[in-house]
């Protein structure tokens, strides 16, 4: 439901340009780029086309610039429930046919919701592009005709079961819900979980669906990327054809959130039906693509990526107090969270004692980074991995289409790959030290413990 690292796992296609930097560089750095054509329809829909002929398939990816941050308190989980409803048909697509038609053409589809956006995508043979555009334009233009209370009820039940499966019946599942509640005040749009609360899901009505659609699902609040085996001129004609009768609508004002800061250590202990204690530490950190965001991402790598990373080596490899540990910068539009999650090894000592010891060592290692910058080789190790990930992410058009929409949403430039990579490659050891000092305060953070016990 939420995305962790913006970098991980997205890819680009065929027409990518790889130019090598001059020979003098010891490790030639490929320049990565996804050439595109971008235009806006009269109804306000932004369209981005990218050609990649590796396989005769095409990816159609639509972002609506609305996520759970737009929800009202008392109707949490609605953006995601709404995502489910969007697959249940529209004026010219009867219930079930969205999937029936796509599968009959050799395609598949999915969607996901975060705090900031909702995405929908189809992957299908390139010759069936018209079908995907028919389906996407029909639900963008003509959804409300078919939404009945029964339809909302049906997906409400599915979503409640998604919540049970992914949070309530999953080990440590309650912790992820609790973290945002403890990190953000009630009036902040990141306070509640994207999946929502059971009572709120029960309360959602057909009128809520109408209001949400009218307010947030107009073409001017969306962007469409088509990546794959297309002829851009032909694809443009098809898009203009299928979206020509989708009416323009309002453009919602940007989400505004109050700046958020913890003023002290927030501590809580949960019990869960698990074998091993776990510690979560969380800090507020710079918003996605803002100064400091890449630093925090690299800092996470220095701490827990690979055997020689500082926390892994100390806690997992040397002391063997910890089974696994991860640090990550959860980048988001209104502000990010930096988290460290450590699961303890079995021990005869009480969970509180075990986690206190782990926390003390994490703090020692963070303090060392505040006192002196990382070594050059250590930083380079992380950056080289980042660079390889970028290359890998250029391979698959499905992922590349989503990334281009993400870049467009955040920066206005769908081909932001090289600029994004450059944020990382420019980092120096001092930058990491400065970020650790600025953001990883030990007296203003969340310390959430999970102890084995009855839920």
């Amino acid at each position: 439901m939420t995305k962790a690292r913006i970098l991980a796992g997205f890819s680009l296609p065929m027409a990518l340009v790889f130019a090598l930097t001059p020979v003098s560089a010891q490790q030639p750095t490929p320049k990565i780029s996804a050439p595109y054509e971008m235009f806006t329809l009269p109804n306000g829909l932004t369209v981005i086309l990218h050609e990649d002929h590796t396989v005769p398939m095409v990816s159609v990816n639509v972002w609506y610039h609305v996520g759970s941050a737009r929800e009202k308190f008392g109707r949490t989980g609605f953006a995601h429930l709404f995502e489910h409803i969007l697959f249940e048909g529209s004026r010219n697509v009867k219930e079930g046919d969205f999937d029936n038609l796509l599968e009959a053409a050799g395609g598949f589809n999915n969607g996901s919701t975060t705090t900031d956006r909702t995405n929908y995508y189809e992957s299908l043979p390139a010759n069936a592009l018209d079908l995907a555009l028919f389906l996407e334009s029909d639900r963008m233009g003509f959804l409300l005709d078919v939404v009945t209370p029964q339809l909302v009820d049906g997906q409400r039940d599915v979503v409640k079961n998604e919540r049970r499966q992914s949070y309530e019946n999953a080990p440590y599942g309650a912790a992820n819900v609790r973290i945002t509640e403890l990190m953000y005040p009630k009036e902040h749009p990141y306070h509640w979980p994207v999946i929502g609360y059971m009572d709120d899901l029960s309360a959602a009505t057909q009128d809520d669906v109408k209001e949400f659609f009218t307010r947030y699902y107009a073409p001017g609040n969306a962007s469409l990327v088509i990546a794959g085996a297309i002829n851009p001129a032909e694809a443009r004609k098809k898009v203009e054809h299928w979206f020509s009768d989708v009416k323009a609508g309002p453009r919602p004002a940007p989400v505004v959130a109050p700046p958020v800061e913890l003023t002290s250590v927030v501590t809580e202990t949960l019990t869960d039906n698990v074998q091993l204690p776990r510690l979560y530490l969380a800090w507020h950190s710079p918003a996605q693509f803002q100064p400091g965001d890449a630093e925090m991402d690299v800092l996470a790598g220095l701490l827990t990526s690979g055997k020689n990373s500082r926390l892994y080596k100390r806690l997992v490899y040397d002391l063997q107090l910890v089974q696994n540990i991860s640090a990550f910068q959860g980048s988001a539009a209104l502000g990010s969270r930096f988290q460290i999650v450590a699961t303890a090894r079995p021990s005869t000592n009480p969970p509180a004692e075990v986690l206190a010891k782990i926390k003390a060592i994490i703090d020692e290692e963070i303090e060392k980074l505040k006192q002196s910058p990382p070594e050059a080789r250590e930083l380079q190790r992380v950056l080289n991995g980042v660079e390889s990930n970028f290359l890998n992410s250029m391979q698959q058009s499905l992922a590349k289409a989503d990334q281009m929409n993400a870049y467009y949403f955040a920066t206005g430039n769908p081909d932001y790959f090289q600029e994004d990579l450059a944020r990382y490659m420019a980092l120096q050891p001092n930058d990491i030290q400065a970020a650790a000092r600025r953001w990883l305060s030990t007296d203003r953070r969340l310390e959430l413990s999970v102890h084995p016990g009855k839920k």
Partner: protein, 492 residues
Amino acid sequence: MRHWGNGVQRMRQWVNGMIGMGAVAMLLALPLAAQQAPDRSKAPAPGPAAALDLPAIQKRTLANGLPVWIVQMSKVPVVQVNLIVRAGASADPAGKYGLSSFTSAMLDEGAGTRDALALADAIEYLGISISTGSSWDSSTVGLFTPVSKLDDALPLMADVALRPMFSETEVERLRQERLTSLLQQRDNAAQLATQGFARLVYGPRHRYGTGATGNTASNGEMTTSEIRSFHAQYYQPQHAHLLVVGDVIADAILPKLEKTFGGWKNAGAAAAPPALGTATQHGAKQIYLIDRPGAPQSQIRIGWIGVPRNTPDYHVLEVMNTVLGGSFTSRLNQNLRERNGYSYGASSSFDMRMTAGPFVASSGVQTDKTAEALREFFNEFDAIRRPVTADELARAKNYLALGFPAGFETTGSMASQIGELIVHGLPEATFKEYVGKVLAVTAADVERAAKQYVQPDRFAVIVVGDLATIEQPIRAANLGPVRVVTVDEILK
């Protein structure tokens, strides 16, 4: 995410190479002509399917006899190199379950002249990734690298595959890590259900009745010398295959491979891993309940022993399972999720291994609807044994056949497709034939296969859930004999 993710993708694993122009195109109407306002009265039909031209596999052999297959894909300057050893968890000796997996895990804990930390540093400094892993039928060392780092990466990969240190200290460290992972299985109802299903269908004495990583007893006892022996016995050129996919030219990379892998020698006569026997099929319908007090959902697994990868019914079963539980529009998912709302998703699959792996239908359902959900599973098992509709059949066949090219887009996915040919000794034509064979499947084929491979009267049913709530309704539903089993019983 809306869908349940891996279920559908896994079905796709074997989807093949060449999109057939003939039969597929016949099913499709002409595309609509563009016009002022779109005609929405009927969905646009796809145009004729495009041909997928897979790059050729260039087959070479190193001086030591090691086969090398090279596929050039030049979109992105990266390379995937997989060394595939045809011995996996199925080669674990009785009582040593998890040996293949433990051996794989030890390969990068020090190799060549570098200890574990120095090796990790060398690999990470290059920004490459070297992975080691073991499945039922093979073990793989995989290298992903930018082309620019290939020359430095290959010797590291060869160290990991051929010259692991197997230090006692690292074995002890990994042992604790593995024992802890096994302990954590108890936290996860879905894992318990899957593990319980394997044990109750295959029993404790067949290798498939225990997880590939083994159990607490076997991992506790495994010795460094057993790990060394497994490596010595199976990691030899005569049991291995090298696969290179990416931005390389065969003639240019071959000397590099010769330099890094050409000196690897066979150690005596070939002793390929013995084939596993087929387990005794599950006898009569039996419901097994495992308690998870307070659980808001019940994890359900239903099925029995399925088929090996070399089954002559491969394509028929692909189509039959797509209708039953292998796609979003499949009957199980439509029933349990879309029609009844009991679940976030329901699916079914055949896990095809060298020896017959399981056929299993799965779902997590809300606790208070567990008995109802079980009844719906059995309704669908009965229904699939009757003729499928023409619409469903056409949709399932096109879903598999037309979507086939998606599995060949990246160096990693291409390598995994070709890797399956290597492990199962399948002809290269497998890809080209796939579409035609899928499209040739008839309703009568599906009915015959369903009657043979879906026999609900003999299925094992595993439910992990809150017995205080679900046991009585399940007994009252009279679906079959009920037995309560403990977590210890399935994990020991």
